[in-house]
């Protein structure tokens, strides 16, 4: 009985042991097999998804562009990264390529395959704003002791960021990097669909006073700004401030008529200076435009600006309140024959500005004007002249006069070389004779042409 029990126990134990040892031998193998099987399944799945992704992308491209580019069988298109690879990363040492657009060859364009940069990550960029950078390089030679400009200067690099914000608004930022620092030249929100036809801008912007004050450097027909703008309206920085602008079209059967009202903090270069919160400045502008023929049109504007100036010493009324009132008239005549619009055009401009400035010595009246004409005589060539005359804001009896002639060459829509001869007879007897030149170049998004 004892023996039987022992045998039984031994047998059981042996069976148990044997069993367990047998399973110990089988398990790793099975597991490995299972893992291998899973791996194969996973690979197949990856391959499947990769193929489906490729097919879908081809379909998408077809739906979007109506042009089907069939991928070579077995070779995934460059747009689809190999399965399992994080998007945006290309296998090391393998430069992705793309075909030159049809027709680019034979026209002197690049031939063969072009490299693709960051194409796979492109999807994340679709909502980025349009970005452009415009470089403005200035050179000066000749004689000017009153307002000398450096001989060579990377005057400004303007970066622009522009995009639609939402269905109701768009935003535009212009940041200028000058030699002495960075400045937010403009940065504003435009509400495009307010009721009542009100076009509203909020932010920092160049005010609607006249024509030249609204323009950025790179769209000016000169390398500089007219004397009257420098003397009375703050020059390059101009009347540019943080504020709110509202513009409305005035319906009438005859012409395009737009009225703009703007309110600003009251700090604009040397024109306006606010000492208190309530010393805001105002700008009003009325613009009338009419097509005379399909190639000729005329644009007239009246402007008014009012703000406190830097003659005001303190923030109480003890020293008195000192304001500057500015009045402006601008006129632009444009001619551009439609059928030859890329070869010939003419723009005649003029502005007349009156300044009434309170200061300790009493009310100073000053006025000035410029008149200019710019003629395009070839697809890439422009020439122009300008006549300047202006009193100074702080002393209207000091009158600077001058003139300039320009020649501009456009290698393409995106770059420009300009030479300008300028003569200014300063009020105190100095005469400046200068030869100025400018290179301008733009990279990035294609901005709209100014009108």
């Amino acid at each position: 009985m004892r023996v039987t029990r022992f045998v039984c126990a031994a047998t059981t134990a042996a069976m148990l042991l044997g069993g367990s040892s047998a399973s110990a031998q089988e398990t790793p193998q099975a597991l490995r097999q299972e893992i291998d099987q899973l791996r194969r399944d996973f690979e197949a799945l990856k391959q499947q998804y990769g193929d489906r992704l490729t097919a879908l992308e081809v379909k998408l491209a077809a739906a979007e562009g109506g042009q089907v580019t069939q991928p070579a069988p077995g070779a995934p298109p460059t747009a689809a990264p190999p399965a399992g690879q994080p998007p945006g990363q290309q296998p090391p040492g393998q430069q992705p390529t793309a075909q030159v657009p049809p027709g680019a060859e034979g026209a002197g364009g690049p031939t063969g395959a072009l490299p693709v940069y960051g194409a796979a990550a492109g999807g994340s960029k679709v909502f980025n704003p349009d970005i452009a950078v415009i470089g403005d390089f200035l050179g000066a030679s000749g004689h000017n002791t009153v307002n000398p400009q450096p001989s060579l200067e990377m005057h400004e690099s303007e970066a622009s960021f522009q995009a639609v914000v939402d269905p109701y608004a768009r935003a535009d930022f212009f940041i200028s990097f000058g030699e002495s620092g960075v400045d937010l030249e403009e940065g504003y929100l435009t509400l495009t669909s307010l009721p009542g036809g009100l076009l509203t801008k909020v932010g920092k912007m160049r005010s609607a006073f006249g024509k030249v004050n609204t323009l950025h450097n790179h769209v000016l027909p000169w390398t500089d700004r007219p004397v009257v703008i420098n003397n009375l309206v703050g020059g390059e920085d101009g009347i540019s401030d943080a504020g709110i602008s509202v513009a409305r079209l005035i319906p009438n059967p005859w012409l395009f008529l737009e009225a703009t009202g703007q309110i600003f903090r009251g700090d604009s270069s040397d024109v306006f200076k606010a000492n208190r919160r309530d010393e805001v400045s105002y700008v009003g502008h009325v613009r009338g435009y009419q097509d005379i023929t399909e190639s000729t049109n005329i644009d007239l504007g009246f402007s008014y600006a009012r703000g406190h100036n830097d003659a005001e010493l303190g923030h109480d009324d003890f020293f008195g309140v000192f304001t500057t009132n500015l009045y402006g008239v601008d006129a632009t005549l444009r001619w551009r024959p439609l059928q030859r619009s890329i070869y010939h055009s003419f723009v005649g401009r003029g502005e007349w500005i009156v300044s009434r400035r309170d200061q300790l010595s009493g009310l100073q009246r000053a006025n000035g004007f410029y008149v200019s004409g710019d003629y395009q005589f070839g697809r890439r060539w422009f020439t122009g002249v300008r006549i300047d005359r202006s009193g100074r804001a702080t002393d209207g009896s000091l009158i600077d006069t001058g003139g300039a002639a320009t020649l501009t060459y456009w290698p393409s829509e995106f770059s420009q070389v300009r030479g300008e001869y300028r003569r200014i007879n300063y009020a105190l007897g100095e005469t400046a004779n200068e030869l100025l030149f400018q290179f301008q170049f733009s990279i990035g998004a294609h901005g709209a042409h100014p009108f």
Binding site: G65, G66, Q67, T69, T97, A98, Q99, V100, P101, P102, G103, A104, G106, A107, G108, G109, P110, A113, L114, P115, V116, A119, V164, P167, Y168, R170, T190, T192, S193, L194, G197, L198, L199, L249, P251, F256, E258, Y289, Q290, D291, E294, N297, D299, R336, L338, Q339, R340, S341, I342, Y343, R379, S412, E413, F414, I443, H446, G447, A448, H449, F451
Partner: protein, 307 residues
Amino acid sequence: MKHAFILVIALLAATGPAAAQGKLNVVATTEDLAAIAREIGGDRITVESIARGYQDPHFVEAKPSFILKLQKADVLVVVGRELEIGWLPPLITQSRNSKIQPGADGYVDASLQASILEIPTGQITRAMGDVHPLGNPHYWLDPENGKRIGKEIADKFSALRPNDRATFEQRLADFSSRLDAAEKKWLAQMAPYKGLKVVTYHRSFPNFAERFGLDIIGYVEPRPGIPPTPQHTLDLINEMKRQNVKIVMVEPYFDLKTPNSIGRETGAQVLVMPPSVGGTKDVTDYFKLFDYDINLLIEAIKKSGAK
């Protein structure tokens, strides 16, 4: 006082929203799109175009008078593919019209269903000239695309005027079948000249060439948007002589000096070929555009003896 009151009421009435089921006020950026919109809309719409057919559509001036047109528009039909990028965005922004802002119900991008050629697939740079990253925008010069543009426009009109849906659909069907018949005729006219080698000034004709079997071997412009250079012109003349090219197609808004000297050197015919409705006086609708261009081409081929 009473008069003033009446005047105010009249002004308010005049500036108020138009009756919901009045005529659709359609503005198209080019005369081609206006012509197709007219085919679809008939008397249910009024159509105006911004650019003239004899004008370079890349360089239209953003005149304030266009703002007035856009302000009153119910629908804006654009060519798209960045053709109008240099002038349309500021006009739309200043239009104060929420109906035609990009993405709104009244904004129609006519290129969405069209077959677009020359879509760059790789990195593009401005060293290639003024290339259009979204493909060649001169796609309307293919009657097949004409039908697709018509469909795009008809869909939009129907969505905005559900009551007139049947009319728009019927007019679209009619337009498409007339276009089919005309296309058969045009293809038959052009069939004997299949594979004919031509040179064009700008890349305005790839869709036309593809549909009617022309082989564009070069361009007067060295790169899109870059005016001709002497070296490129010489190369082009040599290439034309080598391949015996006898046709130079020039859009009406380009200077003829370089094309004419190429013509003198190579004996090629220089054709002022309107790429758009309104490009010359005789081309008053979408059908006449192809009629005119194909007749012009065939006459020139016969004259030049090219084959």
